[in-house]
């Protein structure tokens, strides 16, 4: 029962057995059925070319000298010795940068190469270009840095002290990057009137993305002056603007291409190697330059999930009706904004969850430190606050001796009601149904029997958590897609993938949508990957938006192209467009009496008619929970949310402290399901990262130095660590999304940690506040409670 297989079996798997041809390509796929990923055959044979896979005989290698100290004034960079290393072609410093030498998404506070001072160990100080990786390594080692150490600030609370060293002297609010404060009803004061108040302060770890493909790419300065950068990036269009500004180039000169990524999860939501590659290529005209961070360099330099400290106080009456909530969250954002302000603001919006609480005071701060950079990571500030709220709700349930599911049920918002963050819940909200599904599911309904059957020395527990996650950008930054769909002169369809595919499969979904609406097999369709010279700006691969936003634009394009084809075919066949339909390779009369092949029909269309461009901007919330324009700019609030309930069944080993996850259920409302197999992929992958977050993954930093520098010390779950997971869906229809769908990429990560925490508490009474729940931590807590 506990390892039940996924319920969403593909309705039709149409791959012919034994052949290279994936035969689903030759039939017209429907939306709502499992449609095999079209990128899979090239990936499974090793043919797919990622940014890391480019090699050329005249290719140069670039790499950086990382600072290695957390805070220091840069007095000098001496490059003579490095330049003298055989095979070294160029050694570049901030002096070689003609632009602003600053990058960042909101606040451009991160140098390409350090000029004034080092702000964390992973800062790039000098860029070396060499003929081969060996010469590159020698060159990097030969760069001499003269650094004057500065006192650092490593604790976000200390960072807010007036005497604390400043990470950015020019920031008007000192080390406070951004603060959000929402008060609903009487706010904190209402706690005093509550019959029951529970509280806890949680410490959640820094989590590393650990995508398999570390940051990489290659660049070349072409003969016409174009700087072409191919990179493993979630954000080619934003990169283009950042690189141009940082390096002092006209936007038109920079071209960014984004092939399939070898994983991203938010860690490639922003510039990593792009400007460095550009700088290297500018210094070595005509020769391609490649850069590919080692795992250790990647761990040191890349942004992480924000470590947080969250104090949560929750008041209710004795019947379990929530009355007041006070949340105070401190996000350690490291030395650069990156996306820290936006992450924190999304946390603020979700801090009260989807619950009816008349009085709330939500306070979140993102604070600069000299720790590793924090930024976007699947969930984007939300898993932290969901953990705090849900674990505190669980405490309340125990205090009131209430069923934790029943406690949620009593307080769940209905569509149109306002959350503690004063945001209205959307019409498409299947959360109550998700809870109902959980309540009758064996994992939950039979938990007492399962617990009673625990083996010797093992304690079993089952816990749940509710999660919601906003879809798309906030009200200010336009969440837009510009789709392009084209029929080439031979009648073949070309689908422009405007948003990077970091592995979630949106490129395949775009083919799926086009094929479905135009009644064509995907076989023979061409997919154009994101490229600032070919596709149109359609935003980042992030915010659970890749299908949600671009899918609508693409569907509109498909409808328009279809209309044009039918009009032309009607003229040819002497019929009305309404009497015609598209079928594989042809437009035909519905009664089957006449047809015209697309390859022929296309000759009647001008090049302009063969190409359709559409624009779609996702709707934005008109609500203003706060008058603070900075919070609006940073994304507060949203109007579309995905929802879920997650259940963990765990076994705690009394002798070792090890927590084993024996079963995991996610019941989710992601709107209409376009492709059950891809939905399951997203849920399972998201849960896996959530389980890592709950149980193993931690990148502590001591005085700004990370203590888990590689995959031998930073523990990513293996196949042996994870259970079989079950995924169920409650389908709703979201009017803003394509065909009723919402985004799903992030939500499944959000409730995992609190579900596991609740399960552990259920198993052994341990109300943990420090995560991850490593065996050491659990064992010590068990021993302490035994001693007590």
């Amino acid at each position: 029962m506990l390892t039940a297989r996924g319920m969403l079996r593909p309705k039709q798997v149409c791959l012919r057995k034994g052949g290279l041809i994936v035969s689903s390509r030759s039939r017209v796929p429907h939306l709502g059925e499992s449609f095999l990923r079209q990128d899979a055959p090239a990936k499974v044979t090793g043919r797919e070319r990622y940014a890391a896979d480019y090699y050329a005989p005249d290719m140069l290698w670039a790499g950086v000298r990382q600072a290695g100290v957390p805070h220091a004034r840069l007095k000098a960079v001496r490059t003579e010795a490095a330049r003298a290393v055989p095979g070294v072609v160029a050694v570049l410093t901030h002096r070689d940068i003609e632009g602003s030498n600053r990058q960042g998404v909101v606040r451009r506070d991160q140098p390409v190469l350090v000029d004034d001072k080092v702000r964390h160990c992973g800062d790039a100080v000098a860029l070396v270009v060499a003929e081969d990786p060996q010469a590159l390594a020698r060159g990097i080692a030969a760069v001499e840095l003269e650094l004057e150490p500065l006192p650092g600030v490593f604790d976000p609370e200390e960072a807010l002290h007036p005497e604390a060293p400043l990470v950015h002297e020019d920031h008007p609010h000192g080390n406070l990057l951004l603060e959000g404060h929402l008060v609903k009803g009487q706010g904190e004061a209402a706690l005093a009137d509550c019959e029951v108040v529970v509280e806890a302060t949680y410490h959640l770890p820094r989590q590393e993305h650990a995508y398999l493909e570390t940051e990489c790419g290659w660049a070349v300065l072409e003969n016409d002056g174009t700087l072409k950068i191919t990179a493993s990036t979630q954000t080619p269009f934003r990169d283009r603007a950042e690189v141009a500004e940082a390096l002092g180039l006209e936007l038109e000169r920079v071209r960014v291409v984004a092939p399939f990524l070898g994983g991203g999860f938010g860690g490639k939501d922003g510039v990593s190697v792009q400007s460095l590659l550009g700088l290297a290529a500018l210094a070595c005209p005509g020769r391609p330059v490649k850069m590919w961070l080692s795992r250790e360099e990647s761990f040191l330099a890349s942004p992480k999930r924000h470590p947080v400290r969250i104090r949560c106080r929750l008041g209710a009456d004795r019947r379990g009706r929530l009355q007041a909530l006070v949340v105070d969250a401190l996000y350690d954002t490291g030395p650069y904004d990156h996306l820290g302000g936006v992450v924190m603001t999304l946390g603020l919006e979700h801090a009260g969850g989807p619950y009816r609480i008349p009085h709330a005071e939500l306070h979140t701060r993102a604070v600069y430190t000299n720790n590793p950079v924090s930024g976007a990571f699947r969930g984007f500030g939300v898993p932290q606050v969901v953990a705090a709220l849900e674990l505190t709700l669980d405490r309340l349930a125990r205090r009131l001796e209430l069923d934790p599911l029943e406690l949620r049920r009593r307080n769940l918002l209905r569509p149109g009601e306002q959350s503690p963050a004063m945001v209205s819940m959307p019409r498409a909200m299947g959360l109550a149904e998700c809870l109902e599904r959980v309540s009758t599911h064996p994992l939950w309904a039979q938990r007492r029997q399962w617990k009673a059957a625990a083996p010797r020395h093992r304690l079993r527990g089952v816990g749940l958590a509710v999660v919601m996650h906003a879809v798309g950008y906030g009200p200010v930054v336009p969440d837009e897609g510009r789709a392009v769909l084209e029929m080439d002169p031979e009648g073949r369809l070309r689908v422009y993938c405007g948003v990077a595919d970091m592995g979630q499969g949106n490129a395949s979904t775009y083919l799926h949508i086009a094929a479905h609406l135009l009644h064509q097999p995907v076989e023979g369709m061409e997919l154009v990957m994101p490229d600032t010279a070919r596709t149109l700006p359609s935003g980042s691969s992030s915010a659970s938006r890749t299908t949600f936003t671009y899918g609508v634009a693409l569907a509109e394009a498909a409808h328009e192209l279809k209309a044009r084809l039918l009009v032309r075919a009607a003229a040819r066949l002497g019929a009305e467009p309404g009497e015609l339909e598209l079928a594989p390779g042809v437009v035909r009369a519905r009664d089957g009496r006449a047809e015209v092949p697309l390859a022929e029909l296309v000759r009647d269309l001008s090049p302009e008619e063969r190409r359709v461009e559409t624009y779609h901007r996702a709707p934005v919330s008109q609500e203003r929970p706060s008058d603070d324009p900075a919070l609006q700019l940073h994304g507060l609030p949203h109007c579309v949310y995905s929802f879920g309930v997650q259940v963990a069944a765990v076994e705690v080993d009394r002798l070792t402290g090890q927590v084993e996850v024996r079963g995991f259920l996610t019941v989710c409302d992601a709107g209409r399901v376009l492709n059950p197999q891809l939905l399951e992929q997203q849920v399972q992958g998201g849960v896996a990262q959530g389980l890592g977050y709950a149980l193993w993954e931690d990148m502590p930093s001591e005085e700004g130095r990370i203590q888990t520098p590689d995959l031998a010390t930073y523990l990513v779950p293996t196949a042996l660590d994870l259970p079989d997971m079950e995924t169920l869906t409650v389908e709703t229809f979201e009017e803003a999304g394509p065909f009723g769908a919402k985004g799903l990429g992030e939500m499944p990560t959000g409730g995992v940690l609190p579900a596991v925490g609740a399960a552990v508490a259920d198993a052994c009474g341990l109300e943990a506040v420090v995560y991850p729940l490593t065996p050491e931590r659990v064992l010590m807590a068990l021993e302490e409670s035994r001693a007590a």
């Binding site: 055959p41 990936k43 090699y55 493909e213 999860f265 080692s294 795992r295 896996a688």
Partner: protein, 157 residues
């Protein structure tokens, strides 16, 4: 040094530095970029190849160690343009997301099925535990390997 070995069924002879890592030789010199590198330290399994029938990590081997050996990379698995049943199962069962672990995972699974043609799910998990995947949570990979095992058994019967 003059290096001679058999690569995906074809003899290869080339001049190379003996201490070049095999992953660099395959990717950089021979253009076989299906063998991925993700840690360079034997932690992740992305560079898994098969040497004389045994899975090896190409980031921990040096070119000279290939002398006279028979090497299989992911590019050599789809013989005559037909996907290997494992590759087919990975596609069908949705075991591929970003795909960067996939080549190594497929070769590790092949090795497992050669040693144990009828593994249960736990044995599959154990057999793949040296290969990290960050996208899938492994479940669909286990599904794919179990399905491929059934298919391969059927072929052999």
């Amino acid at each position: 040094m003059q290096l001679e070995f058999v690569l995906n069924g074809r003899p290869v002879r080339l001049e190379t530095a003996p201490d070049q890592r095999v992953v660099d030789l395959l990717r950089g010199e021979l253009g076989l970029t299906g063998t991925k590198e993700a840690c360079g330290a034997g932690e992740c399994g992305a560079c898994t190849i098969v040497v004389d029938g045994v899975t090896r990590l190409a980031c921990l081997m040096l070119a000279a160690q290939l002398q006279g050996r028979e090497v299989l990379t992911i590019e050599g698995l789809a013989a005559e343009g037909r996907l290997h049943p494992l590759q087919e199962a990975f596609v069908e069962h949705g075991a591929v997301q970003c795909g960067f672990c996939t080549p190594g995972m497929v070769l590790a699974a092949r090795d497992l099925l050669q040693r144990n043609p009828r593994p249960d799910r736990e044995e599959i998990r154990r057999g793949l535990s040296g290969n990290l995947c960050r996208c899938t949570g492994y479940q669909k990979i286990v599904d794919a390997v179990a399905a491929a095992a059934r298919r391969l058994e059927g072929v052999e019967q």
